[in-house]
Subunit: 399 residues, 2 copies
Amino acid sequence: MKLIVQKFGGTSVATPEGREKAIQRVLEAKAKGFAPVVVVSAMGRNGAPYATDTLINLVREIDRDVQARELDLLTACGEIISSVVMAQSIKAKGCPAIALTGGQAGIRTDANFGNAQILEINPNPITRLAKAGQIVVVAGFQGVTEDGGITTLGRGGSDTTATALGVALKAEEVEIYTDVDGVMTVDPRVVPEAQILDRITYREICEMAYQGAKVIHPRAVEIAMTEQVPIRIKNTFSDAEGTLIAQGAAERVITGLAHLTNLVQVGVALNNGKSSQANEVEVFKLLADNGISIDLISVLPKGIYFTVKEEAAEKATGILSEAGFEYTLQKDCGKLSVIGAGMTNVPGVMANLMGTLHRAGVEILQTSDSEITISFLVPMEQLNKAVQLLHNKFALGQS
Amino acid sequence: MKLIVQKFGGTSVATPEGREKAIQRVLEAKAKGFAPVVVVSAMGRNGAPYATDTLINLVREIDRDVQARELDLLTACGEIISSVVMAQSIKAKGCPAIALTGGQAGIRTDANFGNAQILEINPNPITRLAKAGQIVVVAGFQGVTEDGGITTLGRGGSDTTATALGVALKAEEVEIYTDVDGVMTVDPRVVPEAQILDRITYREICEMAYQGAKVIHPRAVEIAMTEQVPIRIKNTFSDAEGTLIAQGAAERVITGLAHLTNLVQVGVALNNGKSSQANEVEVFKLLADNGISIDLISVLPKGIYFTVKEEAAEKATGILSEAGFEYTLQKDCGKLSVIGAGMTNVPGVMANLMGTLHRAGVEILQTSDSEITISFLVPMEQLNKAVQLLHNKFALGQS
């Protein structure tokens, strides 16, 4: 029995039309000889009655402070309802189908409610049903603790359900269905010549997601990577081949670009008497204790630079002021990241990128680089131009 | 620790106002030194997004034929959502509360999906939480099978959850909250002088419910009766004392009246050659095989009389015709039942009742009697008059 895991997101399962298309994908896989295991998100969003956010608002309206355990119990219902509706829709096409909660599907997690980690998956419940000819529809985004607590895997967690099942079931492939034709070289709203990538490596897609290209949750990719289960990003609503995420030799120096907007660069001066190291530790601890995420961190002898999201800037600077730190602010920044597993072995990539940006008059406020990513912080009004420039430079628009 | 189980129905938990009142009852019980265990139904009905019927329609619209297992998984979400909302509402009043699914509350059932029977209840999960000062809110109407299947206890099953928990937890009392002040001697829409009963026995309330007075599900009462756990029917929205359901010496000959409308009396002639016994068996088997419920059955040498609900009459007579039986029909009948545990030891009750009805010109089409109930089938247009007559006769309108 060749199993395939197919995950459908909220927009695919929200309407009868979407489910119709999704089921077409399921039946196509079955016709090709696969036993499909379907994973679904909750139906729709933005106020749809069974959407995750709507369920959360139901209790948040009563009191903002909701325990994670209770939120999980509540929101898990969204995917359960979706799984029963999907199973019934498949059955209406004459194909046996059965809905399972995460727990019934054998997904056991730790008790870290709201952001649970999968501890193990018992593959037997699904394989037994699949062998009996049932299309199993699993409620995504959830699991169960050893003592029966219902947990969720955190936002975007249905992708994780899909890849974790892919690994546990030794599936041939995990298909993640969305409403785009695949992973693109760059955001097509910024660069019209953006191309669909045929394939991308696990690490590249993780970087793309982390740097702002929202296609699949990085945690989901990491799980698939452990056992090298191939993932395919496909469009529920088109017949495009999609993008294959798999291991493999890098064929290109640069695979794609990603960007993030509305960042604020904070510079903290380290000159108030203490050692700079004590200062650094204090700054990072203060921000972490207050739940402020920072990015693009540069620690220099005279100061620390980092970025925060615009909405967190006021809180961050308030905390720093209170603790007696002086700071500078650079508002309205954007971060452009160049991702490519192939750049590791190619000398001069950074110089090439910097030169291209400089010659075009793009102001570079900060940079960072890791093995497969180089990022530039630039003024927001120059971000799109910079993205377009580098996309052209590496000929990513040529299929 | 003195536990009390408090069950709130759909109308009590559907709105913030209803929940406000319900929580007032919970906090009153707590102030009296009880540890309240709350059982909730799904929120609202008739199209409310999380009501049982709405959830059922979600899949019935896709295909009428839904497996009971899938329906249970789906509808169980209605009570789970309700339990989280209720727990959160209690917590917002500053009182620790936690929501549990039926399974988490230790309720194990058989695998008879859609109409599951409780096999056992592990009291530990609830008592542990109650001891820790938590108000436990249990999703009613549901349980879990040994291998993790989510079951429902059938319609009206939240009452059953409440009384079964009452027994398992050795609760002082089970309070069933509705939107009426208690069990009435008769339907107040028919007899304005109807009185709230202070108390009623388990068997009387079962008969009342069975004979048409919808206050509490008979199955729920039977469970409480096994361990003599007192039940109190109360109004969420008033301070009335309510009606206590408990064992006890009958203080009255007649406790109350109940009635059913829109019945059709069917008479089947047994003269087609076979033995009357073979005929009888065939008639009952035919009807049962076709899922037709019959009531008020009188088997006589020359024929069988029984009643069916108006909506089932056509199907019933069609089946009889096809099998070659001749039948007579008496349409537009109503059934009046007189219930009282005290009538057993009092001679002449039947004569008294018959005489009262005869003298007033009420036509009696059929009667039946059991230990604590006497029923009369009468023409619908005489039903209300008959109910009023007997209510007066036994002075039930005097408190």
